[in-house]
């Protein structure tokens, strides 16, 4: 995950409390989404950014996951994400995100 984004997630978590934060991802690949999710839950696996060794344990969801889809307006979802849902490997992404939540999520 981008070093600057790591800083932003870290400072927002300090400000609002980890229990009040959900991180949403839009990465096109399961692996990339998983790495980003790992960074904000278990810490930066590349040990390059401010979240290296910091286990925030935040709740993480990808925008193609059913939990997110059901929580938002269907029409807006179709307009903003409908096309990408057709293109992405949704099953693979859901599996990867679930695994990250089960392993590292604290909330």
């Amino acid at each position: 995950m981008d070093l600057e984004n790591q800083n932003r997630v870290k400072s927002m978590t300090e400000k609002y409390g980890a229990e009040n934060i959900i991180v949403l991802f839009g990465a096109a690949e399961a692996e990339a989404a998983g790495l980003a999710a790992e960074t904000v839950t278990n810490g930066d696996p590349t040990f390059a950014g401010s979240l290296a060794g910091v286990q925030l344990g935040l709740r993480v969801y990808h925008v193609v996951e059913p939990e997110f889809k059901e929580a938002v307006d269907g029409e807006v979802y179709e307009e903003q994400i409908g096309m990408m849902e057709m293109v992405l490997d949704v099953d693979e992404i859901v599996e990867e995100m679930k695994s990250m939540r089960e392993q590292f999520c604290k909330y």
Partner: protein, 510 residues
């Protein structure tokens, strides 16, 4: 309507193994943050030889020796498969080795900032005496320096070291004591842009039988900036490169737009020619050392060679309609505007379907889409997926949503209207333009009638806007008609009648 044409293309790659280690930002950052890292220890075992780089299929596509379609015959991964009879020189340009390129840095150096070791120069003078483009430039290398002098400049005067095969062979000096914009590091990066841009430009001229004095304007579209502390991005790479190739009748300017810049430049060049301001405009871009080995950590982790080991450069000539070469449809241009929005759907609509609608065309009416043609052999192991394929799927999916395509046809669309990616991940280099060389043949002798060139850029990296950017343009087979406005038969009759009358009255007077 008379549209401008794509008149010629030149492409060059430069294998830069030592620059991966010393100038790629992934590696320089690692040396600062984690100097004892396993990655830095392992890196030299993962650098490819020059021969391996030549034999690599995507590189042979880049210089035109095999086609993007040929690449489909090679199963991924590509790095462990050689192209039979691969050649350093190709239809569009060449793959240059690092030592020769270091000499080019000296050849383009107008301020005597590049210092090279005596022995290194002497060896290269012999090696390059047969180079078709530079054999007459060897005198510009001069005598060279003693190694002790160079060591002193690197150790005591903040010069940027130049290495070849692990040995110090020269340096680039800083040009100012305190100006951060004229540090040795920045001057090195800028000289790399100039030298690699010149290389592609020289191939463009050489391979397409162009009289360099016919070129009137040059647009440079890489991602570096040159200037000093009072004008950090003042420019002008374009004119500097034009000078280095002897384009005596040209001026030029730099266009920036992250990875989208080459397509912006293509549209600007087309507009300049279409308007009649200039007849021949070249767009050119050099390569970026910062991006060498960008995904090196992932490549090493997966026991692969570091595949981001080449600089990329290109030069394209846009000219007035010759009735033969593919035309740039200046009326079918797509753009991502400030108000477009950032969802992929909005982006693809703005870049693809909006210009097509203007021409009464469907998504399937474009035979080939040239998107960001990043090589998936590089990006997939780094978790970034297959970039061109993802773009084709998005274009196809939009076609499905617009009922121009059956959903079950999506994968066929990707294959038929797409191409496997072959360009090195040098930011602006993969951006639509790598196909232009092939397009010249496909849209004249081949069976393709229409293609779309799409460039996209991540503007948010510069921290001035959160926006993303993109532009596109349709290119088409030339109809053979070059006249702007046809003259009707009636007008001709009238003109003849008037002349006859004039003639008759003249006779009467006499």
């Amino acid at each position: 309507m008379s549209y401008p044409v794509i008149k010629g293309a030149g492409y060059a790659l430069i294998h830069t193994p030592d620059m991966i280690i010393h100038n790629g930002t992934t590696q320089t950052t690692e040396r600062i943050t984690n100097p004892e890292s396993e990655y830095l220890k392992k890196i030299t075992d993962h650098i490819r030889t020059y021969e391996e780089v030549i034999n690599y299929a995507p590189n042979q596509v880049y210089i035109g020796n095999i086609t993007p379609e040929d690449l489909r015959n090679y199963k991924l991964p590509w790095f462990d498969k050689d192209v039979p009879e691969a050649n350093r020189f190709g239809k569009f340009g060449e793959i240059m080795p690092q030592d020769e390129f270091i000499c080019l840095l000296k050849i383009v150096d107008s301020f005597d900032l590049v210092k090279l070791k005596k022995e290194f120069i002497n060896n290269l003078k012999v090696k390059m005496q047969n180079h078709p483009l530079f054999k007459n430039d060897m005198d510009q290398l001069k005598e060279g320096e003693e190694i002790e002098e160079i060591e002193k400049m690197v150790k005591e005067q903040h010069a940027e070291a130049l290495y070849h095969e692990g040995n110090l062979v020269g340096c680039v000096k800083k040009a100012h004591d305190i100006d951060l914009n004229l540090t040795a590091h920045i001057l090195f990066e800028n000289l790399v842009v100039k030298a690699s841009g010149m290389l592609a430009f020289k191939h463009l001229i050489n391979k397409n039988n162009i009289d360099v004095s016919d070129i009137e304007y040059v647009i440079e579209c890489s991602e570096e900036a040159c200037g000093d502390m009072n004008q950090r991005g003042g420019g002008n790479f374009a004119k500097a490169i034009a000078e280095s190739v002897g384009a005596v009748n040209a001026t030029g300017s730099d266009t920036r737009g992250f990875c989208a810049a080459p397509t912006h430049a293509l549209i600007e060049a087309a507009a300049l020619v279409k308007s009649g301001i200039y007849e021949n405009v070249v767009i050119v871009a050099g390569g970026a050392t910062a991006k060498l080995g960008m995904n090196g950590k992932d490549h090493v982790k997966k026991e692969m060679p570091i595949l981001e080991d080449v600089l990329g450069a290109f030069a394209i000539l846009i000219s007035k309609n010759d009735g033969v070469n593919p035309v740039l449809r200046t009326d079918l241009v797509g753009k991502h505007t400030v108000g477009t929005g950032s969802s992929p759907q909005a982006v693809i609509t703005a870049l693809v379907t909006t210009p097509l609608e203007r021409g009464g065309l469907k998504i399937t009416d474009i035979d080939k889409y040239s998107v960001e043609m990043q090589n998936p052999d590089i990006t997939k192991p780094a978790g970034a997926g297959d970039v061109p394929e993802a773009n084709y799927k998005m274009i196809g999916a939009l076609g499905v949503k617009r009922n121009e395509l059956e959903r079950k046809e999506l994968l066929n669309f990707v294959k038929e209207h797409g191409m496997p990616g072959w360009a090195p991940t040098q930011g602006h280099i993969p951006s639509g333009v790598p196909y232009l060389g092939f397009a010249m043949k496909d849209l004249t002798e081949g069976n393709i009638n229409r293609a779309m060139i799409i460039g996209k850029g991540s503007l948010f990296l510069g921290r001035m806007t959160n926006l993303f950017d993109g532009v596109s343009i349709v290119i088409e087979r030339n109809s053979g008609k070059t006249e702007e406005v046809g003259v009707s038969q009636e007008t001709i009759k009238k003109m003849i009648a008037e002349s006859m009358r004039d003639f008759a009255s003249q006779l009467l007077k006499e």
